[in-house]
């Protein structure tokens, strides 16, 4: 019952929007092209969500200022910002809302968990979706011709980490823990494959969940197998206590993780025990991006400090507009036909998609926690 009421209200909102859209079209001036931007704008990830939207908005404003012409007509881009609260359920509601509002493309969503359910709605509506930050392999593995992303996925990240662990950190015996979420398990599986292929031995495969705080039992069991590296596929609320308990139990193994650990919150939660932890993040550190420092200046003049993914949202808009220019139209079907040919020099590096919609040659950067901050160790391609 609740759900029906929800969708009814969503439809009403959408109708209102659509009506107001009609009104604008008859007015003088350039034709308005609506692009959706979806990210959590409330809840614990608000700051990252707003960052994505601002990144996209900066690109839209720049393109409008330069003036965009499609099919011989002047057009104006309009960004519709929506809040998915990082909730899969809300994600599908706002996705439908954007489709009904006549959005021709969507930049989003932020999380893999919201991007994947929403992608079906965009696919059914036949409009392109470019996610700046969803990294789960499953997103582009559904076979949707509408799903694209501009960031390296978990498979690319897990592979890079596996090779790095064995090749650069010299790990021979490796223990792997994951939190059984789509993200953690996916990352750990890819890591395991790559580490084994590189000649590492996996001595333990343990599991926890994304609400646990006590890992002493599994870490003790791991300790009995004498690994020299412990890999954790999961997020910082588990990674923090895990780093502490690892040291407390006297394990000499180093802790390695993905982008779930590579953030400021992990450093806070792990405290002094964060020292020496290695974690990766897809993409380049902002200052190593080809257009990074310059982008930072423009972005900070308008919106303040960059959180994380703003440059990716920015590039996603430019990639979309590149496809529109190639199609000489904003019609979704025509834009979709041109997206595979997109090739731009973005802020984050060259943006180009493979047949599945993944970014080609997405970089992964490895960091080490030193003196209470993340220091860049190396960027792996």
């Amino acid at each position: 019952m609740q759900a029906t009421r929800f969708s009814i209200s969503a439809v009403i909102v959408a109708m209102t929007l659509a009506l107001s859209a009609c009104g604008e079209k008859t007015a003088e001036g350039p034709e308005v092209i609506r692009i959706g931007s979806v990210a959590p704008l409330t809840g614990p990830q608000t700051h990252i969500g707003k960052d994505n939207e601002n990144g996209a908005r900066l690109a839209v404003d720049e393109i409008n200022a330069q003036g965009l012409e499609l099919g011989g007509k002047k057009v104006k881009l309009e960004l519709l910002g929506e809040d998915d609260q990082a909730e899969p359920k809300t994600a599908t509601i706002v996705a439908q809302k954007l489709v009904d509002a006549g959005a021709v493309a969507v930049i989003g969503h932020l999380n893999s968990g919201t991007t994947i359910p929403a992608s079906k709605i965009y696919h059914d509506a036949g409009i392109p979706q470019i996610s700046p930050s969803a990294t789960a392999v499953a997103y582009t593995a559904q076979g949707y011709k509408t799903a694209y992303r501009v960031m390296a996925n978990d498979a690319q990240q897990g592979k890079a980490l596996g090779q790095y662990a064995v090749g650069k950190m010299g790990a021979k015996k490796i223990a792997i823990i994951d939190d059984r979420t789509a993200y953690g398990q996916g990352l750990a599986d890819e890591f395991e494959k790559a580490a084994k292929a590189a000649g590492g031995e996996v001595v333990a495969r343990e599991f926890t969940n994304d609400k646990a705080t006590d890992f002493t039992a599994i870490l003790t069991s791991i300790k009995g197998k004498n690994p020299d590296l412990v890999f954790f596929g999961g997020m910082d609320p588990q990674g923090g206590p895990m780093a502490q308990q690892l040291k407390r139990l006297g394990l000499s193994a180093r802790l390695l993780g993905g982008d779930g650990l590579q953030n400021v919150n992990f450093l806070k939660l792990a405290g002094a025990d964060a020292e020496g932890v290695v974690a990766s993040s897809p993409g380049l550190p902002i200052d190593s991006m080809p257009g990074g420092p310059e982008f930072r200046k423009r972005f900070e003049a308008k919106y303040g400090v960059i959180q994380v993914y703003a440059p990716y949202a920015y590039d996603a808009v430019y990639a979309l507009v590149d496809a529109m220019k190639r199609a000489n139209s904003a019609e979704p079907a025509k834009v979709l036909a041109e997206l595979p040919k997109v090739e731009i020099q973005g802020v984050t590096g060259p943006v180009k998609f493979d047949a599945k919609g993944d970014t080609v040659g997405g970089a992964v950067t490895v960091y080490e926690a030193k003196g209470g901050a993340w220091q860049v160790l190396e960027t792996v391609k």
Binding site: P44, A217, I218, T220, S221, G250, L269, G271, D273
Partner: protein, 309 residues
């Protein structure tokens, strides 16, 4: 062998925290036959209040000795939780004392949800980190590692339990509590102020919960508005395992449950050849709960009516 010793230590530390929280469940049940589901949340509030105080103190002067700061946090958290529990009992349970037993149970679940949401509004949805200010000494016993903090947790738990036992067995208030547990009506006829005794029961349980809350957040280095939920369920299982309503049972049940969990999670993967993994850690608590309910519904130590309080 050292691995086994280590798992045993892991389990005992975890178990003594469970035992402390379980005491709160069992005391209230002993007197009111009410399962106070909000008790886990009282533990959480204790941790949150203490962390706020610690944050303020460290903000004012970062050079204060860590142990003192944590004790100060604890000294604020204990009365805060006592006041909270007093209020909960007065507002949510007392009006329903004559109602069918299901009604206060549902109220308890309601209070638990309200407290979670209030905590979320006040402290946010993020994980709050516990600053690393406590001494970090480490010792080795039989090849196993044990930290000062772990020793402190076990010792403090045992002291709290001993204190509670003395209170119940040796003081006038304790005698009043035992009398009320046996029969509210008769106790009232004997001049016991039953309302006050019930309030005291809630308040004492909350004070112990506050200690447990601070221990948990210091041990794991974090606190979260949702942390009381799982902790409460585990502690409740521990209380049932030991025999709900029985104070010694709650202690035994807590320690036992901690050890079962640690050994279970530590060895299940190897024993089943990887077929069942360590993600079944949480299952053990509830498996034990079900088995106890099936084979020994009154718990390990049974419910000896005379000594329940």
């Amino acid at each position: 062998m050292d691995i086994f010793t280590q798992q045993l230590i892991n389990g005992l530390v975890l178990g003594s925290i469970y035992a402390l929280v379980a005491l709160g469940y069992t005391m209230v049940y002993g007197i009111l036959e009410l399962i106070n589901f909000a008790h886990g949340e009282v533990t959480m509030i204790g941790a949150m209040v203490a962390l706020s105080v610690i944050g303020v103190l460290l903000g004012a002067s970062p050079d204060l000795p860590g142990l003192m700061v944590v004790i100060a946090g604890l000294l604020v958290a204990i009365p805060a939780c006592m006041a909270l529990a007093f209020g909960i009992e007065k507002i949510a349970y007392r009006p329903l004392r004559k109602a069918p037993r299901l009604a206060p149970l549902i109220t308890a679940i309601g209070v638990s949800i309200i407290l979670q949401n209030v905590a979320m509004l006040v402290w946010g949805r993020q994980y709050v980190s516990f600053p690393a200010i406590l001494p970090r000494g480490q010792h080795e016993i039989l090849g196993a590692h044990i930290t000062d903090l772990q020793i402190a947790i076990v010792v403090l738990s045992l002291l709290s339990m001993a204190g509670l036992w003395l209170l119940v067995e040796k003081t006038r208030l304790g005698r009043a509590m035992r009398a009320t547990a046996q029969s509210k009506e008769v106790a009232e006829l004997m001049g016991v102020n039953v309302d006050r005794v019930i309030s005291y029961t809630f308040i004492i349980g909350a004070a112990i919960a506050a200690i447990a809350g601070v221990m948990v957040s210091a041990y794991y280095g974090l606190a979260h508005y949702y942390m009381g939920f799982m902790l409460g369920l585990k502690a409740f299982s521990a209380a049932v395992l030991g025999g709900i309503g029985n104070i010694a049972g709650a202690m035994l049940g807590g320690l036992l449950l901690g050890v079962i969990e640690a050994l279970g999670a530590g060895y299940i993967g190897d024993l089943t050849g990887g077929f069942l993994g360590s993600h079944y850690q949480d299952v053990f608590a509830f498996l034990v709960l079900i088995l106890v309910l099936v084979f020994r519904p009154s718990g390990l130590l049974g419910e000896r009516v005379a000594s329940r309080a």
